[in-house]
Structure formats: structure tokens, C-alpha cells
């Protein structure tokens, strides 16, 4: 991957999380309907986005820290984490965090969103993209022991600015799409849409996690 593609991928993944009912917009709509007020829908969006940002941010920070260490193990370890998590999602597709119920404040929503995004593997999916962002300098290639395993070596470290840009772009795309869907469903479409459009992507998402693991080994 090169050029704009990694950034587009980061944004598309964010948009995908925004459109997924279980990541937030449905909760926002439910809270709005319970009170009969659109302002409740809108008020729910920032805390949900914040929780998502925290989850993705934590994962990106971990990856960035790992990359900074320069150890050759980072790439296979990240790939293994992706594949193992994908296998878990295949094994227990219905697994979800048990946290809160319908009466929630902003803090509850933030923690809920953090848990949902983490259980989904939202941040983990960014691993192969982060590994290959053009901003990463190939400094590590010069390390002697990497000559033996050139394909598995980490390219380099992730700058703080790049990491922050990834997190903000991903969550920003998520927030925009989530907000648009939430308002459209609340105002015009109605929840009947759930019955036809809530497509089960559990298996595809689990497969994508595994594929991303393989990809990050291969790139």
C-alpha cells in the first residue's frame, strides 16, 4: 500500500464502524426514542465517539510503542493477535460485553463504546495499515539481524503525529457516518430498517481480521 490508500482505508474502516448498528448509532436512536427528543440522539454521539476513539487510540498507541521498540517480533506478533482475535470472533460471533442498560449517562456511553469497539477488534484492524504507512521510515532495515528475516521485519516507527492523525481520521469518519445514520433513522427512515438491513457481517469481519493478519505478514 502506498500514497493515499492507507488513509482511505483508515477512513473507510471508521465509516464501517459508523454504519454498524451495534457500534453506536442504534443506541443513540434508542435513547432519543425513549425521551422522544432528537437532542438526546445528538447528545449520545460524542460520548460514543469518544469511547471508540479511546479504544482505537489505545490499540494504535500499543502498536506505535511496539514499532518503536524495533523488535522483529512485532510483525508476527501483531499478525498472530489479529488471526487469534479473528478465530475468537468466529468461535463466539454472538459474544458481546455486558455493560449498562437503557438508562445511561455520558460516562456510561463512553465506557460502553470503548468496550464494544475493543470487543469488535476495531483498533486491531488498523495494524496492517499502520505497519505500512509511508510515514514510517525503513530505518530498521539496516539492523543486522533483520537481514535474515526481511519480510517479517517492522518497517519502522510511527510518528506521534501520524498516529494521532490515524486515530482522529478513523474516529472522525465513524462519527460523521454514525451521526448521519442516527439522524436519518430517527427522523425519516424508522427502526423498521433494522429488520432488513442489519446484515450479519460477523463471519466476514472475523475473516477480515484473519486476512489482515496474513496480509501484515506478507507485506
Amino acid at each position: 500500500m502506498s500514497g493515499a490508500w492507507p488513509w482511505i482505508a483508515v477512513a473507510v474502516l471508521g465509516a464501517y464502524h459508523g454504519i454498524d448498528p451495534s457500534m453506536g448509532w442504534l443506541f443513540a436512536v434508542g435513547l432519543g426514542l425513549q425521551e422522544g427528543r432528537r437532542s438526546k440522539v445528538l447528545a449520545a454521539l460524542p460520548p460514543i465517539a469518544l469511547g471508540h476513539l479511546a479504544s482505537v487510540g489505545l490499540t494504535v498507541a500499543l502498536i506505535a510503542g511496539a514499532l518503536a521498540s524495533g523488535a522483529w517480533i512485532i510483525r508476527p506478533a501483531g499478525a498472530a493477535a489479529l488471526m487469534l482475535f479473528g478465530l475468537f470472533r468466529l468461535w463466539r460471533p454472538q459474544a458481546h460485553p455486558r455493560w449498562v442498560a437503557m438508562r445511561v449517562n455520558a460516562r456510561d456511553l463512553t465506557v460502553w463504546s470503548f468496550l464494544m469497539a475493543s470487543a469488535h477488534g476495531a483498533g486491531l484492524m488498523l495494524f496492517p495499515i499502520l505497519m505500512d504507512l509511508p510515514a514510517n521510515s525503513p530505518a530498521m532495515a539496516a539492523m543486522p539481524h533483520h537481514h535474515h528475516l526481511p519480510m517479517l521485519a517492522a518497517h519502522g516507527h510511527l510518528s506521534l503525529a501520524t498516529a494521532a492523525a490515524v486515530i482522529v481520521l478513523h474516529t472522525g469518519a465513524m462519527l460523521v457516518v454514525m451521526g448521519t445514520v442516527a439522524i436519518a433513522v430517527y427522523e425519516w427512515i424508522g427502526l423498521k430498517i433494522l429488520r432488513s438491513a442489519w446484515i450479519n457481517l460477523d463471519t466476514i469481519w472475523a475473516g477480515a481480521l484473519i486476512a489482515a493478519g496474513l496480509l501484515s505478514l506478507a507485506l
Partner: protein
């Protein structure tokens, strides 16, 4: 087993459920009142499609492996609550019936697929598993919740208390344990449901297994020892919030029917009998200034009767108590149906204003003295008891037995089981359907569940 789209029988709101197509099949728990004959309880499948040649007939039957289970209440593994936003799992199937034996404490997991007319036994949750993981016994009410399957239980394995609620995993049906973190003063258990929009659960009281399994005990009744308190709970934190005592003379506050609309904070509870005057009543719990309050909204008086026509237990009173043992609320929260097991009445009330119900219809099927007749069967015995209202609110399925040990105190001649259908006019009024009648020989149908859900199977997170 996961579905590509949400199960088509899951509805985000009660309004959408009420607009769904008519049910084609009904499942009914059938109980053998005399286990000494070695016959098994069964899950029967009834054809409810008027276009079908086998309409109003038993088209399937699955016998339980044990004897003496006393199948009673049951429910689906998954329902519309799977669409709730905080713990969504929309791609599970409404497929399994969880069918407790109220006496044996076995929970039968019955698979209604691939052939819904020929259900099969998928698994049995043994009483030992329930006892060791949750400390409970005599499972009663089953509700598919947003995050787990909730089951209420009458008491402890030794026949004492407390009764309470335990959870089953909604994927593999393992017993996850006791639900309550802090049960406060609650001791007796019976029914359990919730207001999902308020994170509030409600439970009611009957008696411990020792108090009910050998029949209603008149001395306990007269001393007001059976349940008469409603308990409100924090559904999220599993803590007792408030107890509302209806007064000891209001014996057995049993069936709980909260509004289906999650934005509405009220519900109805039926009281079987008042020890003051043998009347029965319906009470309305509601939220007022952050607290929960209750008031009586319907009173059904006892009917004077010739003592010669009464069973020994009622002779001294020369009256038939109505015995409100079951109530049902239509999915649109507009009509409340009240079953009077003593008089045989099925009453329909318009509860558009829940504080002032209006009686809009009555039919009489069976009854201790009345023996209200069905056009296809003549005089009936047993009395209107279990009710199940179709999703669209147009049909009410009625069965006629209460609980083995109690049936014989009110109907000592023995109950001849039946299922009847009562049609509801959308503008009020009810009538017995002359074409639907399912008789049973030597066994008693109890709760009915409709294929795809009914008015007491599902709960909703969206109005």
C-alpha cells in the same frame, strides 16, 4: 446457526410486532395430572391456520423423557429484546423453547426447527445444575432478555425460600447463576418481568414450594401468608429498589404485565383472592415522582352460589370466588384480559387509560358452578385460566387448568382439558370462536405460545 439478517420474528417495537402476520402454529405445554399412570408430559403443536385442513387439531407431539415434570410456563430462547442496543445479538434464531418442569425442576430445551410441527428435545438442564450454580429450584417464568435468558424460581432445592431469578446463557443455555446481587427484603418468588426503558425489573410473590406443592393451605391463606408484595429492582445493578405491600388480605399477587411500550412506566398485577370478601382484583403499579406506587383499578366480586353445587373447600362460603389467576395485556397496551378461574369469566378491559379500565366484554368458559359452554363441546369444566393474546391482539387462546395440586380443590371431579379461542373486536368486545376447540383426554393443556411470538413472550427496547 447464525442468521444472515435478524430473525424475521424480532420486532424493534411493539407497534411493529402488532402489525405482523397471523400465527400459523401454537405450542402448548400439556401436563399429565396423575404421574402414577406413568404417562409423560408433552409439548403439543396446534394448527392455528384457518386455511389449513388440520386447523384446530394437534399436529405434533413431543413427550418429555421423565414422568411428573408438571410442564407449566415456558418461553422462547430469543425474542425482540435481542435487538436492544446495549447488548445486541440480532442474528440468533427464535428457535428453542425453554420448558421448565415446575415440579421436577428440569428445564427442557426443545428445538422447533427444521420442522416446526415436529419439535425435538435438544438438551435438558438438570435440577442439580440449577441448584449448584444458582441455589434455586422450581423454575417458573422464562423471559428472553437483552443480555441473557431470565428464569424465575419458586424457591430453594429443599422446598423453602428464597425464591428468585437466575440467568441462562443465551448461546449455550448454561446456568450462569443467581441474578440478584442484593435481594433486600424479598423472600417469596413467582413472576418476573421488566420495564426495559427504565432499567427496572418487577417481581411478584406466590409461596415457597413447601407452601404450594400440596395444594392451597387454608390456614396459610387466612393468615395472609401467601405473597402480597411487589418488588421493584434495578435491572442493571441487580439490586432491590422498593417493596410495595398490597396488604396481607390481598393473597397471591401473581401475574405481572408491564406495558410493552418501553417509554411507559406502568403495569398490571392480578390478585387471586381477598381474604376479606373472596373478591379478586387488578392493581396498577406506576411511577410517580421517582418512586413506584400502586393502586387498585379493577375489583371483581365473588358470586353467591348454592353450597350444594360447591366443592368442599368453598361450601362454607356459599360463593364462588372469581380467582384471577392470569392476566394478559395486548401488544399495543390497549386491552387487558383477565381470567377468572373460579367463575370461568374471561373479561376484556379497555386500558387506554390504565388508571380507569373500562369493561368492554365478557365470555364465560367453564367455571365451578357456571360450566360455561362452548358451541362445539357443550358445558365445560375447569375454568378460563391461561391466556395468550396474539401479536395483533385479535385472538386470545384460552386453556382451563391452574396447577395440579390446586385444580382438585376447586374442580374435584377432575379437569377435562381444552383449548378455546376467543376473538377480539379491534373496537372492543369479545366472542367465543365456534370453529376452534381442542379437547384433551386425561391431560391438561397449560401455557400456549404462538409461533413467532405473542403478547407475553417478547419485550422491546424501542417504542
Amino acid at each position: 446457526m447464525a442468521l444472515w439478517k435478524p430473525d424475521p420474528t424480532f420486532y424493534p417495537s411493539p407497534r411493529m410486532a402488532a402489525a405482523s402476520p397471523r400465527e400459523k402454529l401454537a405450542y402448548v405445554a400439556v401436563f399429565n395430572p396423575d404421574p402414577s399412570n406413568g404417562h409423560h408430559d408433552a409439548m403439543c403443536v396446534i394448527d392455528t391456520d384457518p386455511q389449513s385442513p388440520s386447523y384446530s387439531k394437534v399436529v405434533g407431539r413431543l413427550e418429555m423423557p421423565g414422568v411428573g415434570d408438571e410442564l407449566h410456563h415456558f418461553n422462547w430462547n430469543a425474542c425482540s429484546a435481542a435487538l436492544c442496543p446495549y447488548a445486541p445479538h440480532p442474528h440468533v434464531e427464535r428457535r428453542y423453547l425453554l420448558v421448565p418442569g415446575l415440579r421436577s425442576s428440569r428445564i427442557h430445551v426443545i428445538d422447533t426447527k427444521p420442522d416446526p410441527r415436529n419439535p425435538t428435545l435438544a438438551k435438558i438442564i438438570e435440577p442439580e445444575e440449577i441448584a449448584s450454580r444458582a441455589g434455586y429450584s422450581r423454575p417458573h417464568t422464562v423471559h428472553c432478555g437483552p443480555d441473557a435468558i431470565y428464569v424465575s424460581a419458586l424457591g430453594a432445592p429443599d422446598g423453602g425460600g428464597p425464591g428468585g431469578v437466575f440467568l441462562l446463557d443465551h448461546e449455550n443455555f448454561d446456568v450462569r447463576g443467581r441474578w440478584e446481587v442484593d435481594r433486600g427484603p424479598q423472600y417469596l418468588g413467582y413472576d418476573f418481568w421488566w420495564h426495559l426503558g427504565y432499567d427496572v425489573a418487577v417481581s411478584s410473590e406466590w409461596g415457597t414450594p413447601a407452601m404450594v406443592e400440596n395444594g392451597v393451605q387454608p390456614e396459610l391463606l387466612m393468615q395472609g401468608k401467601y405473597g402480597h408484595t411487589l418488588h421493584l429492582w434495578d435491572l442493571r445493578r441487580r439490586r432491590h429498589l422498593q417493596a410495595i405491600d398490597l396488604g396481607a388480605e390481598n393473597q397471591m399477587a401473581l401475574e405481572l404485565r408491564p406495558a410493552h411500550d418501553p417509554t411507559k412506566a406502568y403495569g398490571f398485577v392480578g390478585v387471586v383472592i381477598s381474604t376479606k370478601d373472596l373478591s379478586a382484583g387488578i392493581w396498577l403499579w406506576h411511577r410517580s415522582n421517582g418512586e413506584w406506587a400502586i393502586r387498585k383499578v379493577i375489583d371483581v366480586p365473588a358470586e353467591p352460589a348454592d353450597a350444594a353445587l360447591l366443592p368442599p373447600a368453598l361450601k362454607p362460603f356459599s360463593a364462588v370466588p372469581p380467582l384471577i389467576t392470569e392476566i394478559a395485556l395486548s401488544t399495543d397496551d390497549r386491552y387487558l384480559y383477565v381470567a377468572c378461574f373460579g367463575t370461568g369469566d374471561l373479561r376484556q378491559y379497555d386500558v387506554t387509560d390504565p388508571f380507569s379500565p373500562k369493561l368492554t366484554g365478557t365470555v364465560r368458559l367453564g367455571g365451578v358452578v357456571a360450566h360455561g359452554a362452548h358451541p362445539r363441546a357443550g358445558a365445560l369444566n375447569g375454568g378460563t385460566q391461561m391466556l395468550e393474546v396474539s401479536r395483533d391482539g385479535r385472538r386470545i387462546y384460552v386453556t382451563n387448568s391452574l396447577y395440579g395440586a390446586w385444580d382438585k380443590q376447586f374442580y374435584p371431579e377432575g379437569i377435562r382439558g381444552w383449548i378455546s379461542l376467543v376473538n377480539a373486536n379491534p373496537h372492543g368486545g369479545i366472542s367465543i370462536d365456534p370453529d376452534f376447540f381442542v379437547p384433551f383426554t386425561g391431560e391438561r393443556p397449560h401455557q400456549v405460545r404462538l409461533q413467532g411470538g405473542d403478547s407475553s413472550s417478547d419485550s422491546y427496547c424501542y417504542p
